[in-house]
Assembly symmetry: C2
Homo-oligomer: 368 residues x 2
């Protein structure tokens, strides 16, 4: 059945029924002119993000379920990057009237999965026909006591990231070559291996991992041939695909006490570090050999002939946190460099300094 | 210059500079991962609305300035409909990369005009390329002490609307025949005439009226010929065009004390009254002869051969408020009927009752 046959009002009613349960601090949820939320003594956070088909995603690469999940994660990441707790979600969805009901259901399943993961409640939204592809936007509100701005980095602070970088960009590269969406809902992922170089390691903890049984089921034989040509197994590629298709936002609560500035890495380490430095009016020196790379990234990137370091520095969509903290504070994250007075440089394995900037991030290709 | 030549980051920077001024309760405005707002002792309201090119608007009918203005008004209307004060705005804009910079500037001028009118502050947003037309969405937050739900109507309550209905729909009809956008920024509007029938009259007070000099300037001679064929003057059509292109949301503060339920009329009186009745689990009896119609609507509709009453009942986009209040309360709005036990009926001029429903609103054509 197609969207045009269901009708907007009937679909809205279904969505409303599915998401209407809400805690007592939401006085009015979906279904009135506006949602109504009781006052809180904490500061209010609000962020919004848009995803446009053909610009931010292609349904040739991502399933509707993954898309719904990712739309929520991307916004949650922004709330976490302020040190906050995400709470209330609003969705605006424009999709072609010929969209199949199964696609819509699957999309909302992904939204729902992410909402449960992050403990969110849907309080509003709008649904419309579109002429061509899907345009999605989500607005997310949350609360924060001690908030972390981009602008708080001080000279001498250390620069940290919360986990491996570049996996997502390499996952996207894989998808561009595989040229089809891959369901990950029923596969098991082995825990990511610790970065072989770089600072302290801490385990990724995604509630999504370990669900269901089996690995890579449903892969066609054509697909297996491709893998064998690349000399890669499902276990090599699955973590990278997952990081791209179903990113789990990194909760900042462990870091909030010591962090002086924070941003989430959505456009790539170099561009987001530049933003943080611009806002803080400082410089940065980071060390290529300290950038954490997963063993999967290194293996897959090498077999595909791409640079793992380039993925990590400028690939984007990592949704890890980048933050600074005073050098004397003990911080359980990966130390990658230091805040300096003004220059922004990366030190390669041979000890040579190269400057970087937001504009140049796409052309940046430091080799380890 | 086109959007693709300016670049997303540079445009974001311009928007940020233009809108960065904010009051002290906004701790962080545009430019971080999320906006940050100090706690308030009042309840928080939030609403969101989307406008898709080719679905909700056509740039053949509306100027970018008017579009920006309307996008804000539509959301403000939802906050007013809860009895609230609008405050914080977020915008998501997807537009083609070939969009001219002048179009973008004009769009933001319209946004800005409306923000000043309603005293709003921009706290966030997202900007993206689109493949085809524009997709716009706005999220608006506000505060409310005493809030009015859709569900509070009681049997015996009177039903009120805040002003003339149908002007906007008739304005759209005009635009469909004129087939081009019409700038209203530099024209003067005579005050709307009081409805000749219907309940109490109160003056529309739009700060937009009376700006600039002259009326209908810039109208081509082709355009004047069209008007003369219809036997209409600029003064007849301007108020109707304005109601459609640059609607001013109706502040509810005068009605909040007495209202038992409230909704804004966005989809047409009958569909929105049905929604209010559904939520309140009541019926309604309204009187066709009490529905307020402007003299401009009656004249223009008659000359174009359309039904003014149909415009008023099911035309939509009026952005007037529809509310109920106990019969004994003195209310300065237009009384159009009463809340009853269950049936939803409209009484025509001859005293005949006809039932109405949300589904049937499009085909409903009561004659006065």
């Amino acid at each position: 059945m197609k969207l045009s046959q269901i009708g907007e009002l009937s679909l809205l009613e279904q969505i409303r029924k599915r998401f209407e349960k809400h805690p007592p601090n939401i006085l009015i949820g979906i279904g009135d002119d506006a949602a109504l939320i009781k006052p809180s003594h904490e500061n209010l956070l609000v962020t919004t993000d848009m995803m446009v088909e053909g610009v931010h995603f292609s349904l040739s690469f991502i399933t509707p379920y993954q898309l719904g999940f990712k739309l929520v994660s991307v916004n949650v990441s922004d709330i976490y990057a302020m040190g906050g707790k995400p709470k209330f979600l609003l969705l605006n969805i424009a999709m072609n009237k010929n969209t199949d009901k199964k696609v819509i259901d699957s999309f909302f399943d992904g939204i729902h999965k992410a909402m449960k993961l992050y403990n969110l409640f849907l309080v509003g939204g709008d649904l419309s026909a579109s002429h061509k592809g899907m345009t999605l936007s989500a607005t997310l509100m949350g609360y924060v006591k001690r908030y972390i701005k981009r602008s708080g980095a001080r000279i001498g602070d250390r620069i940290y990231v919360t986990n491996n970088l570049g996996d997502s960009a390499c996952g996207l590269e894989l998808l561009k070559r595989i040229k089809r969406p891959i369901s990950l809902e029923n596969t098991t992922t082995p825990p990511l291996t610790p970065p072989t170089r770089g600072g302290e390691y801490f385990k990724i903890s995604s509630p999504l991992r370990g669900e269901g049984e089996g690995g890579g089921e449903g892969l066609s034989s054509k697909f297996r041939t491709l893998f064998s040509k690349w000399k890669l197994s499902w276990n090599d590629v699955e973590p990278l695909l997952r990081r791209h298709l179903m990113p789990v936002a990194r909760d900042s609560k462990k870091f909030v006490r010591n962090a002086t500035s924070m941003i989430d890495i959505s456009d790539g380490l170099l561009i987001d570090l530049t933003r943080l430095c611009d806002e803080s009016k400082v410089g940065a020196r980071i060390y290529a050999k300290k950038i954490p790379l997963s063993s999967e990234l290194k293996k897959v990137a090498s077999n595909l002939g791409i640079s793992p370091m380039k993925s990590a520095l400028s690939g984007g969509e990592d949704y890890e946190l980048l933050f600074t903290a005073p050098a004397e504070k003990k911080v359980k994250a990966i130390y990658i460099g230091d805040i300096t007075e003004s220059k922004r440089v990366i030190v390669d394995a041979a000890g040579r300094e190269k400057t970087f900037s937001a504009e140049g991030y796409q052309h940046f290709g430091v080799q380890r």
